[in-house]
Symmetry: C2
Amino acid sequence: MAENTFHKLRDEIENGILKGEFEPGERLDEVQLATHFGVSRTPIREALMQLSAIGLVEIRPRRGAVVVDPGPERVFEMFEVMAELEGMAGALAARRHTNQDRSALLAAHKKCESAATSQDPDSYYYENEAFHLAIYAASHSGFLEEQCAALHRRLRPYRRLQLHVHNRMKTSLKEHGEIVEAILAGDAEAARSLLRIHIAVQGDRFSDLVSNLGKRTRPKSTTA
Amino acid sequence: MAENTFHKLRDEIENGILKGEFEPGERLDEVQLATHFGVSRTPIREALMQLSAIGLVEIRPRRGAVVVDPGPERVFEMFEVMAELEGMAGALAARRHTNQDRSALLAAHKKCESAATSQDPDSYYYENEAFHLAIYAASHSGFLEEQCAALHRRLRPYRRLQLHVHNRMKTSLKEHGEIVEAILAGDAEAARSLLRIHIAVQGDRFSDLVSNLGKRTRPKSTTA
DNA sequence: TCATCCTATCTTGTATACACAGTAGTTGAC
DNA sequence: GTCAACTACTGTGTATACAAGATAGGATGA
């Protein structure tokens, strides 16, 4: 541990963006953030630099940092790439998973099941994340795992919105079951295509997503 | 452009790392870099923050920044992911390419041909990069294009080493030809698998890569 | 009344200063 | 002679100060 101030600030601001406390397009005032966190501008700037490098904020010269607004097409493209990477992770996991991975996957799946039966979207959202992280880990490719986790993290807010679509939780859980089965059976191509379909935003889910993107920018009331 | 100092510094240091001026594992002294570039430590730190966010350097608290050394397995994993992403870009390009993309691809391919016939590895290296960027652009997925370009850039030094392997240039060019054909014919799955094979480091190429990784860390004489 | 220009203020970008942690070198003791 | 501890120094982390550009508001002219 023993992290530095700018590390904590980076996570803090990143979470703020992902949770929607800072809206897309919003300007991030350095002095304001500095006073808010009780630090000087220096570590704030360093945190913003890191966020700009991973594409969460954009720094325009002499004009400050703004929260990047990906827009519907870009979000769709991100899901497209996520589907491909997850498919790859699933395929590798099918070939390489150990007994430990097997237990982790089954345990994560079971927790998703509990969350789904108790009809708790927030809990399912959390356990779903753990489930996917377990797949990445089972791929035994450190780099792929990192890339997947990073993109997964970035897509969090949109995934969260999707879960509130009617019946999505139930469908999602059913797909999880098939995915686990394919991976544990060592069927790489089945795991790949099942995961692709699981992630991809196709058909109705696309219009659901676009519709939800509009809702994301809230009526300014919960800002404080 | 009117970029800021830290933008230029970031590119400068990044190029230094990719070109091997800074060796993997080497400590990046802030004061030394500052005096070298004739600036203060502030923009240097901001540049290092960005490089740490994209994984080129690692910042350990109170112990400064060091150039990340991926190690053979990690490099292999990066090529694995690159192969998948390029395959995806090729598949999308096959479906979505416009007449403009078509001309750009053919032009880039022709330039590779010229470089190959004149037996110029450096020139081929450059034109090869342009060729692959043309494929990314033809995918018409802005996010995928960015991801591919970033990873491609990061793998530059290793690709450069590979080109010096005997006959690689000729084989590479032949593969390019087949890839162009598949894309222009609209055969997505052919384009995908051809590109996967083109990028993947398999069989002999893996041992070539590992052997070249050793050469990269030079005999410490050119440090000054 | 509207548009344009000028000015004042606010914010970013860079430099510098100071505090604290880590590291290395030296000295002393076993 | 070797190991450990203490001290001095080097370098990072954060704050603050200063300079320069951008924006907004007001004033003047058409």
